[in-house]
Symmetry: C2
Subunit: 144 residues, 2 copies
DNA sequence: CGGAATCCATAATGATACTG
DNA sequence: CAGTATCATTATGGATTCCG
C-alpha cells in the first residue's frame, strides 16, 4: 500500500537520542511484521543453518541447537517457505528427499541475524551484570 | 548446553554470500540470547517507543500498537529493566509517577531494531506476494 | 525419509478486580 | 497513576503414531 517506504527515519545523532519515527499508518513500523515471523523460537535458527547451504529435513533438524521436534521444524519451515524466505524442493524418490535452501530474500535476512548475534555477543556480559545487580538490589531506587 | 559444534561456518562464499560465523563457545551463536529477550511480542515495541525519549507508564502503554495490557507492559518493562536495557525511575509523589527510558545499551539496540524495521518494510511486498503465490499453489512443485 | 494427525503439557497473553 | 493478583484463554512446543 502506501507502504512505499515511510521508512524509519533514525537520526543517528551524535549524542542526541536515536529516533525511530514510524509513519506507517496501517500497522505501525512493520517491526512487528518481522518479529512475528522471526519471533518464534526456531525460524531464526533455521535461517542460520540454511545460511550455510542446502540441507535436507533430517540434517536440518539434527543441526538445530537444542533439538527441534519434527513437528516444529515442519511448521517453521513451512511458514518460511510461505513467506518466500525458504525454497523447498521435493524429489519424489524412494525414500523421499526434500531439500531446503534460502531464497534471495532469505539470504538478505542473514545479515540482520548476524547483526543480532553480534550485538548479543557484545552485550552479553553487560546484560549478565545488569541482571545480577538487579537481582541483588533490595529495594526500589526511588528518587527522593 | 553446549550442543557440540558451535560454528555455523557458512561455506557458500563463492559469490560473496553473507556469512555467519559463530565462534562463541558458551552457547552457540548468541542469536538465541537476543531473540529470547526480544522474542516476546512487546519488548521491541517498548524499545521503539522509548527510543524517542522518556515516557511514563500510561503514556507508554497508550503508544504501543494494538494496545498492550497493563500486565504485559509491566512484565516487559521489568524484564528490560533487569537486563539493563531500560531505566526505571520512580517519583514517590501522589499520584505516583514512573518514568522509563532507554539506557545506553538500550539505545544501542535501537539501531538493530531500525534495521529490522527497514528490512521488514523493504520486503513486505515481496512477502505478501510470496504468500499469495503459496496459498494459490494447488500442488507441490515437485522436481521431475 | 519426510511429514501429517492427534493428544497433552505449559508458557504467553488478555481481562478483570483490587491496592498504595 | 502504576502497579499486583487471579483467573480464563490461547499459542506454542513435545511426544507419539500412522502414512506415502
Amino acid at each position: 500500500m502506501s507502504a512505499g517506504h515511510t521508512a524509519v527515519t533514525a537520526s543517528g545523532t551524535a549524542d542526541g537520542e536515536p529516533v525511530i519515527s514510524c509513519e506507517t499508518p496501517q500497522d505501525e513500523c512493520g517491526v512487528r511484521d518481522v518479529l512475528d515471523r522471526l519471533g518464534d523460537k526456531w525460524s531464526v535458527y533455521v535461517v542460520v543453518e540454511l545460511a550455510s547451504g542446502v540441507l535436507r529435513f533430517k540434517e536440518l533438524q539434527r543441526r538445530i541447537h537444542g533439538g527441534i521436534s519434527q513437528r516444529m521444524l515442519t511448521l517453521t519451515v513451512r511458514r518460511l517457505e510461505r513467506d518466500g524466505l525458504v525454497k523447498r524442493t521435493v524429489y519424489p524418490t524412494i525414500p523421499p528427499q526434500v531439500e531446503y535452501e534460502l531464497t534471495e530474500m532469505g539470504h538478505s535476512l542473514t545479515h540482520l541475524v548476524k547483526s543480532l548475534a553480534d550485538w548479543s555477543i557484545a552485550h552479553r556480559p553487560a546484560i549478565a551484570e545488569a541482571r545480577e545487580a538487579y537481582d541483588a538490589r533490595p529495594a526500589e531506587d526511588v528518587r527522593t
